[in-house]
Symmetry: C2
Subunit: 412 residues, 2 copies
């Protein structure tokens, strides 16, 4: 039985939040000096705890409980979005550290150990999910090393500057890595609104992104009669409303979509738009629904374009399938929450997470704690300390069960 | 009878286009060195023609035929939009010069003379219609001298730098200025599509501008269920489509509108918009229709906001009423075109022009020549030389009629 220390966990979270502290949040993008310093600090905490710890050639920080043949991967990321919150990612990293620490303190001879992780650069300074995509084997370092950040930094240069370049790169071990667990803040309002503390994630929704271009003709907004216009902006607005109508009719209550960015050229009060670029994102836990949306986009774009006599072009972007969490682990996580008397609910994860890259390889589970006001990716992001404490308690209870009772063959 | 010289007119237009030449167009914003040099050149042409010419304290260039008691104001502007065309404004300025020149050469003793104008800074580097608003008395120099251009230039400083500051400021003389005529390129496709060369403007449409704000809540585009969102962008798209539907139902075939600019905050793929700012422009020749639109905007904004659970705010901008051209002058302009065998049509002007500021004071008329492909405010803007030649011929015929036959008392 692992005995976690909630006070120590919260203390470490607060210390980690000092690296790149910004107002009440944190500004610690992947491979910035603040992030590199935070990784070095984490490595020291792991070594201090008696873990076999290292930072590898991809910047992933790993701390393994000593003398184990098999491991549960437990972790998240410690980089943040620009001007982000103190818990997004960090919570799962320190939870991983605490569980490994408790393992060393309480269960130091069990057959199943813990590999605590801080996966590097999850938040998309480069490609998003960088460290976990390397560890999971989804990508090789060579494939992505030329990626360029929005500030012009090349990933390979960032790794060299951090001193990580040239080190061995750790990769998923199909024999020894037997399960994956990630704790995270919810990043949404569902737990709070439902008055629950622990979210048991049933699936991580799939994400599709598309750019839809409309090509019209710039013209004087006073002198060109409406019937003669080719207004790319009007087609974009029409598409946005048509797409929402489509989703309301053909998708589920859990489908979400967003057009949070729209580029208009030339973008003037008194000139009709020559070009409009719609940035569309959509998520669902059903692969069928996502397929239906992908099929509908070019049809709706063609219809909106035809109505406004403008051309259109669809550029499909990322298309990440939904990942179902392991049913045995979901049940056992719920049972662990019950043993801790934690108000709990099953729910999908609307955000993508490092652990999704392991869900097809090993039994994978996720635990959520509430986000106050649903805030996410902003400095206002926060979680009550009592909820953090309950979160690490439930995670400890859950991991204890796996360490003690193992995993059924069918579940793997 | 004034005898115009089309070759000389086109030659002067080509020379004027050298000031600030940019690709096949002109980059000559108001009070830039290129514009100031062009004004000095125009002053010399006026003096050369024997006109009583000056540049005043507002930068307006005026050339009066000598020895006259009364004048027809003929002119336009010689500044351009950034990277604009060679004829927008310039055509009407050189037509004014040519008519005054022809007056001196052919009708030097008539009672009604000509005041040729290049009104300064029409294109909105500062407030738009700057020079004509000063000459017409709509605004005083003191009221606008602190205006700041998008590049940070203060109008008063620009006038000082040009050497115009402190000079006397010419203003409309209700006794001597008896009519106003402006020639201009159409800036739209209507003449070309209807295979006509001369447009006889019946009215200059009124223009309204509005900013409509929607205030929502930024949120993670994956984790916040649709039912809990306050998506300002979705409200903006909805408003745009609702506004178009309203206009199709309640306005006329000649009503035009545009939402060519839309600002979204934070403007990211995966974040719902906290704020949306819609830049709406609409024009019509009916004051009633414009009033109806102004009434509808806050109602539609409220409806779109309520549907998406976001707040809204309407900030009305410019609201320029339509100006009806003088019916006697419209008839006589059409008759002049007929005498020249010019294919012609009556039409509204969808763009605003310097002469609109005089329409309530004196009989005012406008003549259009075609814009090839309807291009306007771009370097591709152009007009066939034969059409320019027919334009100056018709204008000469029209002004001859006024100079010889005067204006009816009722028309004034």
């Amino acid at each position: 039985m692992l005995t976690v220390n909630a006070e120590r966990t919260i203390g470490d979270l607060k210390t980690l939040a000092e690296f790149g502290k910004f107002e009440s949040g944190v500004n610690r993008r992947g491979f910035t000096p603040e992030d590199i310093a935070a990784r070095a600090w984490l490595l020291e905490r792991m070594q201090e705890a008696g873990l076999d710890a290292a930072i590898d050639g991809a910047g992933n920080v790993t701390g393994k409980t000593p003398g184990c043949e098999r491991y549960i991967i437990i972790g998240s990321h410690s980089d943040t979005v620009p001007k982000g919150g103190w818990l997004d990612g960090a919570l799962g990293v320190i939870f991983g550290l605490e569980i490994a620490r408790a393992w060393v303190e309480s269960a130091g001879s069990a057959a199943i150990g813990v590999k605590a992780f801080s996966f590097s650069a999850e938040e998309g300074r480069f490609n998003g999910l960088f460290g976990s995509s390397i560890y999971s084997g989804l990508k090789s370092l060579e494939q992505v090393v030329e990626s360029v950040a929005d500030d012009g930094t090349v990933l390979g240069d960032a790794l060299r500057k951090a001193g990580y370049a040239g080190r061995p790169v750790a990769v998923f071990d199909p024999v020894r890595d037997i399960a994956c667990v990630e704790a995270h803040i919810e990043q949404g309002p569902v737990l709070e609104i439902n008055d629950r503390i622990i979210g048991i994630v049933t699936e991580i929704v799939g994400v599709g992104r598309s750019q839809i271009f409309f090509f019209g003709k710039a013209g004087h907004a006073g002198t060109v009669p409406m019937a003669m216009r080719k207004d790319a902006a009007a087609a974009a607005y029409e598409f946005a409303v048509m797409f929402a109508d489509f989703c309301h009719q053909h998708c589920s209550d859990s489908t979400v979509w967003n057009i949070g960015k729209l580029r208009l050229e030339p973008g003037a009060y008194n000139v009709t738009a020559r070009e409009a670029e719609v940035f569309l994102e959509y998520r669902d836990s059903s692969a069928d629904i996502l397929t239906g949306i992908n099929k509908a986009i070019p049809e709706l774009a063609a219809e909106a374009g035809a109505k406004h006599k403008v051309g259109h072009k669809w550029i499909p972007g990322v298309n990440i399938p939904p990942e179902i969490m392991d049913s045995n682990l979901v049940d056992r996580l719920e049972a662990a929450a019950e043993r801790c008397n934690a108000p709990r609910m099953r729910m999908p994860s609307g955000g993508g997470h490092d652990c999704m890259l392991f869900a097809k390889k090993v039994p994978t589970a996720m635990l959520f704690v509430p986000s106050l006001g649903g805030h996410s990716h902003v400095v206002a992001e926060d979680t009550r300390e009592a909820d953090i404490a309950l979160g690490i308690e439930v995670l400890g209870e859950f991991v204890s069960d796996i360490v003690e009772n193992g995993l059924p063959a069918k579940s793997r």
